[in-house]
């Protein structure tokens, strides 16, 4: 039984020294396994005289219980230590920018285009496209710009040939859509257009428009006003007032310009307000009822169909919205400019 004492001392000492759950498991397997010292001791009981056996067996079992308790305790201790270490070493710098693909910057003109489309889509408009290099008939004649008419002066034109021009507006899409389809028609036509303008802070020879066309058998000027007011409220805010004033476009009659009240001076125009030049109003777009001559050109009966059209320059809306002071910035595409339209993402 001297042996049992020695086993007890050595095992308990090893358990105290254990550093990791694996150490404890190793001891457990070694000491308590069939071939371990306690197993051997139990097997050697048979060599004892019968009367000594129960007492010896009891002693071995007591020792086994003691060792198991010690190992359980050691296990709990190393486990707790290990968890503490894990927590200690797992410190993270939560202020570091995240590891990610940093999203690209949308172009401000596309943001404006998207917002305009969103504002109008739910009213029943769908996006349509047409050629950018266009036959004179689609760009001018069908839109009631006769040859040799001064209205053509308002749209300085790039020519590819006598009959082929770079479209001066997106209105060619009106004509193409009407020629191909039949009412009801409600389209939005965004895209690049071209005018023979010298380049400066407010003019570029390529720019963008978006145009709307609504044709059915009953749309009136009152409907036009309603649709454009909803549009303005959605795009600029419900507090902005709108104003319609007469104007002239060959392809609409009556024709109108829509102004919204100036955001800076609240429409008062006081103090020499710059954006509205002191008028309290900012010109946003041209609009009007589709001219009967246009319907005739596309083969519609102007007595049976009617509708309205409107159009605006994306650059102008973008300039106003963000206070950009030079239109050329939109085409220079300096990343330091583009990044400004997705603010708060500089980490």
């Amino acid at each position: 039984m001297e042996d049992l004492k020695r086993i007890e001392r050595s095992v308990l000492a090893r358990a105290r020294r254990a550093k990791a759950p694996a150490d404890v498991a190793e001891i457990r397997a070694e000491v308590l396994g069939k071939k371990g010292p306690l197993g051997l001791a139990l097997r050697s009981l048979g060599e004892l005289p019968a009367e000594e056996r129960p007492a010896a067996g009891q002693k071995i079992n007591q020792l086994k219980g003691k060792i198991e308790a010690a190992l359980d305790e050691a296990h709990a201790r190393v486990q707790a230590n290990a968890r503490a270490d894990e927590l200690e070493s797992g410190a993270q710098d939560v202020t570091l920018p995240g590891r990610r693909v940093v999203p690209g910057n949308p172009h401000p003109l596309r943001i404006v285009e998207r917002d305009i489309i969103r504002a109008l889509e739910s009213l029943g408009f769908a996006v349509a496209h047409g050629p950018q290099v266009e036959h004179d008939w689609y760009n001018f004649e069908a839109l009631n710009f006769p040859p040799d008419h001064p209205a053509r002066d308002t749209q300085d034109t790039f020519f590819v040939s006598d009959a082929v021009v770079l479209r001066t507006h997106t209105s060619n899409v009106q004509i193409r859509t009407m020629v191909k389809g039949k009412p009801p028609i409600r389209i939005l036509a965004p895209g690049m257009v071209f005018r023979h303008d010298e380049i400066d802070a407010t003019h570029t020879p390529c720019f963008h428009q978006i145009e709307g066309l609504w044709v059915d058998d009953k749309a009136t000027f009152a409907d036009l006003k309603g649709v454009l007011h909803v549009f303005a409220a959605r795009l600029f805010g419900p507090e902005r007032k709108v104003r319609f004033r007469p104007s002239f476009f060959p392809f609409t009659e009556p024709s109108a310009e829509m102004d919204v009240s100036c955001a800076l001076c609240g429409g008062s125009g006081k103090g020499g307000c710059r954006p509205c030049k002191g008028t309290g109003w900012i010109e946003i777009m041209g609009a009007g009822m589709v001219d009967p001559a246009v319907f005739e050109a596309v083969g519609y009966d102007p007595e049976k169909v009617q509708g309205f059209a409107f159009g605006m320059g994306l650059e102008r809306i973008a300039l106003l919205r963000w206070g950009v002071d030079d239109i050329r910035l939109f085409y220079e595409n300096d990343l330091r400019f583009l990044e400004q339209f997705r603010p708060g993402d500089t980490r």
Partner: protein, 812 residues
């Protein structure tokens, strides 16, 4: 068009400036600017120069003591003509001159309380010689310019449909319509004297299609000299130069009545049938005319000219000729007032690159009702300001006037278009205020006659616009139209283009927008073989003369801009059209046949640090795989249901070992690669630059494969890995595809669920010519669990097969 308020007041009671501007705006006359010089110059007052002393520090400057009746101050003046006792224009501190505001400041060490102004500095003339010396009776302290001496003017933007508004009388009519005030009739009285006009000149119209009406008067014994001050001032106030009383009179009447007039020196007109003769005709072959601007013009058969008995003397309605120009020696003139055909004048003006006040009005349509009135007015002015004698009567050649056109207005139509029902009486009144008279009423509706000065009114819709304009656009109610039925049974339009845009933005690529045209030299390398870019006939310059054939040159330009401005990582895309010449089909609509081919493209350019210099970048640079990843996400974002396939290829202007053709659903959609170093260098860029261009028209047209659900696997799968060292010339995809087809061995490819490249390694100890590639093969059967033995047998076979099929070595 400049309108001076006092001039306007000759014809109508003028409301206060702000009210007038508002009234015109609401009538559709755009007020571009309000020019109120008197208000702007109110800080410039009359002062007396009490003393002039030398400047202590400058020879050319004087120090003047000035007094404006209440305040005495010292002002430094640099003008040579300043003298004691003069009344001068003192721009006091706080005054705002056209070019600058006056502040108190020291000039060469002497404080100056403002300045003594020259007329030019006040914007009253182009160039001044010294300061403005005022009359001795000028009142001290009074503003030098008042609303009376310099009335305000409006700059109006007149739309091309309203030639009638290109005159003071026309604007007065519009004001009258809005205010309800009556037009005033100025007391013009024409006194005729001497012989009949018809005994002094003759007029022949040989080209009646170009000239419906030609009227002439003769004014004799006139004295050419400077215009009276009032006339000079009025013309100058609307931006016109005063020449002499004769020229000024015709100009004045043009801006007053809108009718362009021309004065020929009667003595210089060639004689036929014993009389100086005017012929309105087409030019004869080879005829030339030197116009007033000194340019010799070869006349076109379509030009409309005024000729005398022999030679052309004017481009009708556009510009006079030098030979018959009035001069200081002129004593008798033939005054022309005519109606020339708008289209004919416009064609001529464009042909000769001329745009004059006269052609501007004739092109838009002169008022046939004004021809004689304006002629009389001009003759009367000449009598008044040039002491001319107006010969009796008018020589007039005119076609029978067209009977005034009647326009039918159906009252239901007004409500149908405007969305507001107006009583008939209101409609009649609104139109009557614009001198559009109701001449008949019946069951069909109302018949109206438009005045002669409104050539734009010919149709019912024109009247409806006038009704709306006078009723007030703001008075028309707002309503929302009903569209609920229209799209109910129609599929929504494709959003693929926007989805692609979003996928690219999410992949870290920024969108740019560039112009659709540029330099032909930049596009030529990006044309189909044998083709050239479509050219613009009248470009802004050679550098902007070709339609783009590719988005890449524009993107590289933007990349270069950003590289030069310090960017460390640039990822760009553009979605836009490219253009190529196209041979239209014979049976194609004539309006489409000549149009170039337009293709919607998306271009991508990447360069620089992989993670925009963020902490996890660790020096990694963007490479082809980043580009491939962006493009894979692009195609995934398009939701075509099929993967992007990249195939190694030789692509012009790309690195020979780093370029690919792109395919989706078996269709070629573009190419991608690392730009050839020569191309990068030629473009002045820093490389390596990755670039791709895809055809979105093709991608948008790919029909998405319908998605069918597959049940989830019920039996476990297993994975085997194999690593090989392969020559770099063998694309990984070839090895992967081999394994996908053969890894099943005797069991067939159906047991191979997937094969994925999971490691790529280049570097020691692998030779520089080789790459280590590791593949994971996923085995699984839908019906049962595969045994280890089955899988191992198949795998071992496949590895042996791989080695047999390719010059690769398996790493153990």
């Amino acid at each position: 068009m400049q309108i001076r308020l006092d001039w306007l007041a000759d014809f109508i009671e003028v409301p206060p400036l702000a009210a007038l501007a508002d009234l015109l705006t609401r009538a559709g006359v755009e007020v571009e600017a309000v020019v109120d010089r008197a208000a702007a110059l109110k800080g410039v007052v009359v002062a007396e120069v009490l003393e002039v002393a030398a400047h202590p520090n400058a020879d050319r400057l004087r120090v003047c003591e000035v007094f404006d009746g209440s305040e005495r101050a010292r002002v430094v003046c640099g003008a040579a003509n300043v003298a004691q006792g003069q009344k001068v224009a003192w721009a006091k501190v706080g005054a705002v001159l056209p070019a600058f505001a006056i502040e108190k400041r020291a000039i060469r060490g002497v404080d100056s309380a403002g300045m003594l102004a020259a007329k030019a500095e006040l914007g009253l003339e182009d160039k001044s010689d010294g300061i403005w010396v005022l009359p001795a009776d000028a009142v001290l302290g009074a503003p030098v310019v008042t609303e009376k001496t310099l009335p305000p003017a409006l700059t109006l933007g007149i739309t091309p449909n309203r030639p009638d508004l290109l005159s003071h009388i026309g604007v007065a009519r519009e004001v009258a319509a809005a205010t309800g005030k009556r037009l005033l009739a100025p007391p013009w009285r024409l006194t005729e004297k001497g012989p009949d006009c018809s005994s002094l000149c003759r007029v022949v119209i040989e080209e009646p299609a170009g000239c419906r009406r030609y009227a002439a008067r003769v004014v004799r014994n006139l004295k050419v000299g400077p215009s009276p001050a009032w006339l000079k001032e009025r013309l100058e106030a609307i931006g016109q130069r005063s020449i002499n009383n004769l020229v000024d009179a015709t100009n004045y009447v043009l801006f007053e009545t809108g009718q362009p007039l021309h004065a020929f020196d009667l003595g210089r007109l060639g004689v036929e049938n014993k009389l100086p003769t005017i012929k309105v005709r087409a030019p004869k072959a080879g005829e030339k005319l030197v116009t007033l601007d000194g340019v010799e013009r070869t006349l076109d058969a379509d030009d409309l000219i005024i000729a005398d008995s022999q030679r052309p003397v004017a481009l009708a309605g556009i510009m006079g000729g030098g030979d018959s120009e009035v001069s200081v020696d002129t004593t008798a003139v033939l005054l022309e007032s005519a109606y020339f055909d708008p289209a004919r004048v416009r064609r001529g003006a464009r042909r000769h690159g001329l745009h004059t006040e006269a052609s501007h009005r004739f092109e838009r349509g002169a008022d046939p009702g004004m021809t004689l009135k304006a002629l009389d007015r001009c003759a009367q002015l000449l009598a008044e300001i040039a002491q001319g004698e107006v010969a009796k009567g008018v020589v007039e050649v005119a076609q029978k006037p067209e009977p005034p056109k009647e326009i039918l207005l159906r009252s239901a139509r007004v409500a149908q278009i405007l969305g507001v029902k107006l009583p008939t009486e209101t409609v009649v009144q609104l139109l009557d205020s614009l001198e559009i008279r109701c001449v008949a009423r019946n069951d069909n509706g109302l018949r109206f006659q438009a005045p002669t000065f409104r050539p734009d009114l010919t149709r019912e819709i024109d009247l409806i616009e006038e009704i709306a304009r006078r009723y007030g656009y703001d008075q028309v109610p707002e309503r929302l139209p009903d569209a609920s039925q229209d799209y109910a049974y129609v599929p929504l339009p494709s959003t693929r283009r926007d989805d692609i845009r979003q996928a690219l933005l999410a992949a870290g690529v920024s969108e740019v927008v560039t112009w659709g045209f540029g330099s032909p030299a930049a596009y030529e390398p990006y044309c189909a073989a044998g083709a050239a870019p479509v050219k613009i006939r009248n470009p802004l310059g050679e550098e902007l003369s070709a339609l783009r054939t590719s988005l890449t040159p524009g993107l590289l330009g933007v990349l270069g801009h950003n590289q030069r401005h310090g960017a460390e990582s640039v990822r760009l895309f553009e979605i836009g059209r490219t253009f190529a010449p196209r041979q239209g089909a014979a049976d194609e609509d004539a309006r489409d046949r000549d149009l170039p081919q337009e293709t919607l493209k998306v271009g991508v350019v990447l360069w620089g640090g992989r993670h925009q210099g963020r902490w996890y970048e660790r020096g990694e640079r963007l490479d082809f795989s980043d580009l491939a990843g962006v493009l894979e996400n692009l195609v995934a974002g398009a939701e075509v249901g099929l993967p992007l396939v990249l195939q190694k290829a030789t692509v012009p202007r790309m690195h020979p070992q780093a370029a690919a053709e792109l395919k989706v659903a078996g269709k070629a959609i573009g190419s991608a690669g690392q730009l050839h170093p020569d191309v990068v260098a030629a473009a002045g860029l820093t490389g390596p630059v990755l670039s791709a261009e895809l055809d979105l028209d093709v991608l948008e047209a790919v029909v998405a494969e319908a998605i069918r659900y597959r049940s989830l696997p019920r039996f476990p799968g297993t994975r085997r890995d194999v690593a090989v060292v392969a020559p770099r010339t063998i694309p990984a995809e070839e090895l992967r595809a081999y394994l996908a087809a053969n890894a099943g061995g005797a069991l067939g490819p159906k047991v191979v669920e997937n094969v994925r490249v999971f490691d790529v390694y280049r570097g020691k100890p692998i030779p520089a010519t080789h790459t280590s590639l590791a593949f994971a093969i996923y085995y699984r059967l839908a019906e049962r669990t595969l045994t280890d033995v089955e899988v191992n047998t198949a795998f071992d076979q496949a590895v042996l097969g791989l080695q047999a099929a390719f010059p690769v070595e398996v790493r153990r």
